[in-house]
């Protein structure tokens, strides 16, 4: 079910209605049923995979829990007889067993993800080195909906249980409700079990305030997706499909338009997700925090696709950087090159690995890998250049706190990040680099605005561009207002039902009239739907 299909709207409406007709204790069962319906719409075949993931996580997590409680019980019982070393050895052997269970779960589920998503990419690249007769054929593999999201979410749960963060969920169906929570399947956010379960299994009671907030959030998401993202999409597609024709200044416009499309589509979808959860009384984490207001790359990645970055930080970055192998490597390097670099090395290596995996997570393709590495280079590079920047700012101390400079930092960061983002769209990595550099070498700005084959020939009329501009300005205004607090809260404080009705009514009208849907518009599925 596409978020923008009428059947989805009916589905959510019925779900919300049933949620408040039923007593609270049935809510999670209702949601589980809803999850299954939502998933089944995409083909019941995929249910097999998500069931397997949930089942393996449930079994293994409970096993880990049982192992731990057995360990604690045993230690408590035999506290007096056991010497320290024996206790330590026992703990180690039990922990080893738990680690085995965790590893089994991770290997199985990431293995499935790897096989379905990356196998063909792997074989395609291997084939470049194999003789004709030994070439491996591509398999017809089908990606279950949301596999990247639910796998990461569920594996995060398993790792948390292993780390003893919270006990395993005993009820399989309750766990299944978490792993398959339908609003999150399309594009996240990737939530943590302890965080979501607070409200997933005991949602909040009905409140007019929260209901109004949820509705406004959903409409805001649809506005961004349908009025802005879907409208600018054809232009991006046209510009990036023919990089030889659309080089020079057209690449700049491609970067700009794609930034608008990606942000509006992705954050709009997240708005809808969080809004639906809110309507149901469930709290879901934020995934965006005004990312284009970031002053540097590191900050950007704390504001864009927040939950993905945090997942990698918690479950990949720290484990790698504090792993014994890394510590050993760091010691060796420190002996050879001195303290400063030796300390940084684990961080850098871990960063590189993280970014490689982040890139791959987005897709099985070289452009995604390169994208990840570009980000890594920039982040590590800015770390290394930090002393240089510090010297510069020491020279001009008055510059940094000024607003123009802050704006410059934001624009610089945004331009850099969006330059990388557009790597998704170009068909090949060389084509991307060629296009990007042509921005500075091919002077054709007049062509872009010319009558022959400029921006007016990408599928958008002047009126369409005007709507996109107004939409972007609206998003900007809302973001600026958000710096001083929640906009919906501010609306609520006005204590005017008329105002809230007017806003909701206006949004509905704007979406239905100005949305880029229907015949004459290509309806673009959510960009992250394949994950």
């Amino acid at each position: 079910m596409s978020f923008t299909s009428p059947i989805f709207l009916v589905f959510v409406a019925v779900l919300v209605l049933l949620r408040y007709l039923l007593p609270k204790r049935f809510a999670w069962i209702l949601i589980l049923i809803a999850n299954l319906i939502f998933y089944a719409f995409a083909g019941w075949y995929g249910l097999i995979f998500i069931t397997f993931t949930t089942l393996s996580a449930w079994v293994l997590s409970r096993a880990m829990d049982r192992n731990l409680s057995t360990q604690n019980q045993y230690l408590a019982d035999h506290k007096k007889e056991m010497p320290r070393e024996e206790r330590k050895a026992y703990k180690e052997s039990m922990k080893k067993k738990r680690r085995l269970m965790l590893t089994l779960g991770l290997v199985l589920n990431f293995g499935i993800l790897f096989a379905l998503k990356y196998l063909n990419f792997l074989t395609a690249n291997l084939n470049l080195f194999l003789p004709e007769t030994a070439k491996i054929g591509a398999m017809s593999l089908w990606l279950p909906m949301g596999i990247s999201f639910y796998t990461f979410q569920t594996m995060g749960y398993m790792i948390d249980v292993y780390r003893g963060k919270y006990p395993a969920e005993k009820n399989f169906f309750k766990l299944a409700t978490f792993t398959s929570f339908f609003p999150l399947l399309v594009q996240g956010p990737i939530t943590r079990f302890d965080d979501l379960s607070k409200t997933l299994y005991s949602p909040e009671d009905f409140s007019r305030k929260r209901f109004s907030f949820g509705l406004q959030r959903i409409l805001w998401g649809y506005f961004k997706k349908m009025v802005i993202a879907d409208r600018i999409f054809p232009a991006v597609a046209a510009l990036t499909a023919s990089p030889d024709v659309y080089n020079g200044s057209f690449v700049f416009f491609a970067i700009l338009f794609y930034a608008i499309q990606l942000y509006a589509d992705f954050s709009g979808g997240i708005d809808i997700t969080i809004g639906i959860a809110q309507l149901l009384g469930i709290t879901v984490k934020e995934n965006f925090n005004r990312p284009f207001f970031s002053k540097n790359t590191a900050e950007y990645w704390r504001r864009w696709h927040i939950t993905l970055g945090e997942w990698f930080k918690d479950y990949l970055f720290y484990p790698i950087s504090v792993s014994s192998g890394m510590l050993k490597l760091s010691r060796t390097i420190r002996q050879k090159t001195g303290d400063r670099f030796g300390k940084k090395l684990p961080v850098y290596v871990a960063s590189f690995v993280i970014w490689l995996v982040t890139g791959l997570w987005h897709g099985a393709g070289w452009n995604f890998i390169v994208w990840g590495l570009l980000n890594a280079i920039v982040i590590i590079g800015s770390e290394e250049l930090a002393p240089l920047y510090a010297k510069f700012h020491a020279r001009f101390p008055k510059l940094k706190p000024t607003t123009p400079y802050k704006i410059f930092e934001m624009l610089r960061t945004s331009f850099l990040m969006c330059s990388f983002h557009i790597l998704d769209c170009y068909k090949s990595v060389p084509a991307y680099f060629k296009a990007w550099f042509s921005m500075f070498t091919v002077p054709n700005l007049s062509k872009a605005f010319g009558a022959g084959g400029g921006l007016m020939h990408l599928g958008l009329t002047l009126a369409d561009y005007a709507v996109v501009l107004l939409g972007v300005l609206t998003m900007l205004l809302v973001s600026l207002k958000q710096r001083s607090g929640s906009v919906r809260e501010a609306i609520w404080q006005k204590n005017s039902a008329l105002l809230r009705y007017a806003i909701i009514g206006a949004m509905v009208l704007v979406i239905l009239i100005f949305g880029a849907y229907g015949i004459g518009y290509d309806s673009a599925q959510f960009i992250y739907n394949q994950f």
Partner: protein
């Protein structure tokens, strides 16, 4: 306030919805599978693969399937201005407006063949060539009335579409030959959809 009846009904509704959906999705499994899963690498712009083709950007790409007259070769999507400049003025013209103004078909009559053009962003481009009689032949030497055996020996390979229809596609141009009673009875060129 306890509302057991309402609860039961709601739960039943939800269960029926689930069952119904599972059954229905089973029936429509194939189409939905294509929709959400794909074997190609998932791109962040996974949406439709259709890129907007602006009518002003339509260009000829007929390759070998050019038609020749007066020593001038032309083909589908060439501009009519260019063609007329190359082969000379037509013997006659005809303008056929489709119902409710959904675009005009412009016909140009020449000796032995007929051209039809349509508007593309204000520019008339060739969208159909019909060979009328045996006074002209295609660059591959195919003529109306030619024996079927001679046709099959022609330099380009055709796909048999059945019913005596044979086609060959190059770029966005299709050449179509119809064989009736063992003879070539029609030769046409038109754009692929």
């Amino acid at each position: 306030m306890k509302k057991p009846f309402l609860h039961t009904v709601s739960l039943m509704m939800a269960a029926m919805l689930l069952l119904g959906t599972l059954l229905l999705s089973g029936c429509s499994n194939n189409s939905s599978a294509e929709e959400s899963g794909s074997t190609s690498e998932s791109s962040l712009t996974s949406g439709t693969d259709v890129v907007f083709v602006d009518p002003s950007q339509v260009r000829p790409d007929y390759g070998k399937l050019g038609f020749e007259s007066n020593g001038f070769t032309f083909g589908i999507y060439d501009t009519m201005d260019d063609i007329i400049a190359g082969i000379g003025d037509p013997n006659g013209t005809f303008e056929a407006a489709s119902c409710a103004y959904q675009g005009n078909d412009y016909f140009y009559y020449y000796s032995g063949f007929e051209l039809m053009a349509n508007d593309f962003d204000g520019v008339q481009r060739l969208t159909h060539i019909t060979v009328i009689d045996d006074t002209v032949s295609t660059p591959q030497g195919i003529t109306i009335g030619m024996a079927a055996i001679d046709f099959t020996a022609s330099s380009i390979s055709f796909t048999d579409e059945g019913n005596g229809k044979f086609t060959h596609q190059e770029g966005s141009c299709i050449m179509q030959v119809i064989i009736k009673n063992d003879k070539v009875s029609a030769i046409e060129y038109y754009p692929a959809k």
